[in-house]
């Protein structure tokens, strides 16, 4: 186990304040020296903080998905010349919702004809829609994060570490792409990359949620 992996396993107890003094010092030293683990700790801290304010059950974010879907649909004709393979947000939405219930997921996986599954990169969305789509994605992410937090305690420590580490990487990517977009203005390629990172996050949260 590398240092970072060791620390990753300890982080949860560290943030909950239940770590032995010796381990606590080790974690603190590592976090000062290692930005990757420090980011992961930050992500975890936020997830754990959110957990305290959670309701007992959460409805899947259907309405949010409809919003994203509708906005992307509106954008399609304008970009037909670029021949991007397009994501099917409705299917992605269905998948995200279905992920919450394992039995349903099983049924869908078995029944799904291959042509319907999303292969694609996201459709790029031009200027005026960007903020709205980004907000919808962010809201969908928040909903799934909430579901994930509810299940967090039931995950094995190694799995928590894997999920948290990957979430931290995605969050950094999202932050970088957003900052670049803020600086450069509307940019279809950059948006495509940003939506891909959001999708990666939704997907990871969705999978972590169904564990």
């Amino acid at each position: 186990m590398s240092d970072c992996e060791r620390i990753g396993v300890l982080l949860d107890d560290y943030l909950s304040g239940t770590l032995r003094a010796g381990d606590r010092t080790e974690v603190e030293r590592h976090l000062e020296a290692c930005p990757t683990c420090a980011r992961e700790a930050e992500t975890l801290r936020r997830l754990l903080a959110d957990a305290r304010a959670l309701p007992r059950s959460i409805a899947p974010p259907r309405d949010l998905w409809r919003g994203i879907d509708a906005r992307l649909e509106e954008e399609r004709p304008a970009r037909s010349g670029r021949r991007f393979i397009r994501v099917r947000p409705r299917l992605l939405a269905a998948a995200a919702v279905v992920l919450v219930a394992v039995t349903a997921a099983v049924a869908v996986q078995l029944a799904r004809p291959p042509a319907q599954a999303p292969l694609a990169g996201g459709p790029a969305v031009t200027a005026p829609r960007y903020a709205a789509v980004a907000a919808d994605y962010a809201a969908a992410v928040r909903e799934l994060e909430a579901s994930f937090v509810q299940r967090y305690d039931r995950l094995p420590p190694e799995t928590r570490a894997v999920v948290s580490r990957n979430l931290a990487v995605i969050d950094t990517a999202i932050a970088e792409a957003r900052a670049a977009l803020a600086a450069a203005g509307p940019n279809p390629d950059l948006e495509t990359l940003l939506w891909a990172s959001y999708r990666a996050k939704l997907d990871l949260l969705g999978r972590a949620t169904k564990l």
Partner: protein, 297 residues
């Protein structure tokens, strides 16, 4: 055919060729099914191996830890098998091996267990959290996911592979989609129709030929993208990056800035075109390399 009469035979044989380890139980179950019967297997720990064969029957053998229960049953309409651990927190491994009709549609779910599939041509859905996945023998439709384990797949007609941090290696296929967050991806093929590899920070590598009429897309935020293709490459190439560098062994063209700070792009036609090669990164470097004759598939 028996599959119409739905005759199901199920029995346990508690004898084995080799004695099971202390506390373990050896199990065996058989069932006559149809050529394309859906089969679901649930085994959270240890390993699950599925092999396709030319018979209309399912045979399950395996060893279970003490206290675990095997459930198994179904008909030509569908078969379910799995291991119920005595204690959900139990991590003692159960090892299952199944023979199934080649054309079956098989679904396997695990948590820490490894999944191996050979010679199932129908359809395959495999899911594990930290286990490894290995698929040989081109299922027509394949979905494989692992959070953290490595996934190695021979793709058939249609394949989708996904991990968070597990490395992914895919060969072949016609319509292939691969996505990871931090895992490394390699895809080797020379007869695909469309393929899309994407990551957040994992490196993406394609090796092989880009067939006429095909579309190959590689997209990563921060991973390095490597495309290694024969010198005879014939494709429209479009590379966009924001902070990455591009090494192009297919000409003297280099990145040019796009207007309005939209990043940098390198677009050109190799050979006579006829296929699409699209690469997009935020900060990952891009290498377009000529395969040496040796490494060309």
């Amino acid at each position: 055919m028996l599959r119409i009469s739905l005759i199901t035979v199920s029995y346990a044989v508690l004898v084995g060729l080799a004695p099971p380890a202390a506390g373990q139980q050896r199990v065996e179950r058989r069932l006559t099914v149809g050529e394309r019967t859906p089969i679901r297997v649930h085994n959270l720990t240890g390993s699950t191996t599925v092999r396709g064969w030319a018979h209309d029957s399912v045979v399950l053998t395996g060893t279970l830890p003490a206290g675990a229960t095997l459930y198994f049953g179904g008909s030509a309409g569908g078969v379910k098998g799995g291991v119920e651990l005595a204690d959900p927190a139990d991590t003692m491994p159960a090892h299952l091996e199944l023979r199934v009709p080649r054309g079956a549609r098989v679904w396997i779910k695990s948590a820490s267990g490894d999944i191996t599939v050979e010679g199932v041509s129908g359809g395959l859905d495999v899911y594990t959290v930290s286990g490894r996945v290995s698929v040989r023998g081109a299922a027509a439709e394949l979905t494989a996911e692992s959070m953290d384990g490595a996934v190695t797949v021979e793709a058939g007609r249609w394949a989708r592979v996904k991990t968070a941090s597990g490395a992914i290696a895919v060969t072949g296929g016609e319509d292939v989609g691969v996505a990871t967050v931090t895992g490394a991806v390699t895809y080797a093929a020379d007869a695909f129709r469309r393929a899309r590899l994407e990551s957040v920070s994992g490196d993406l590598t394609f090796r092989g030929a880009v067939p006429r009429g095909s579309r190959l897309e590689l997209e990563s935020h921060g991973g390095q993208v490597t495309v290694e293709v024969p010198a005879a490459l014939s494709a429209e190439i479009a590379i966009t990056t924001f902070q990455g560098e591009v090494h192009n062994a297919f000409g003297s063209q280099s990145l040019r800035p796009l207007p309005d700070q939209r990043g940098r792009a390198l677009e050109f036609t190799a050979g006579t075109g006829g296929a699409d090669l699209i690469v997009r990164t935020f900060k990952g470097d891009v290498r377009l390399l000529r395969a040496s004759a040796k490494t060309t598939r």
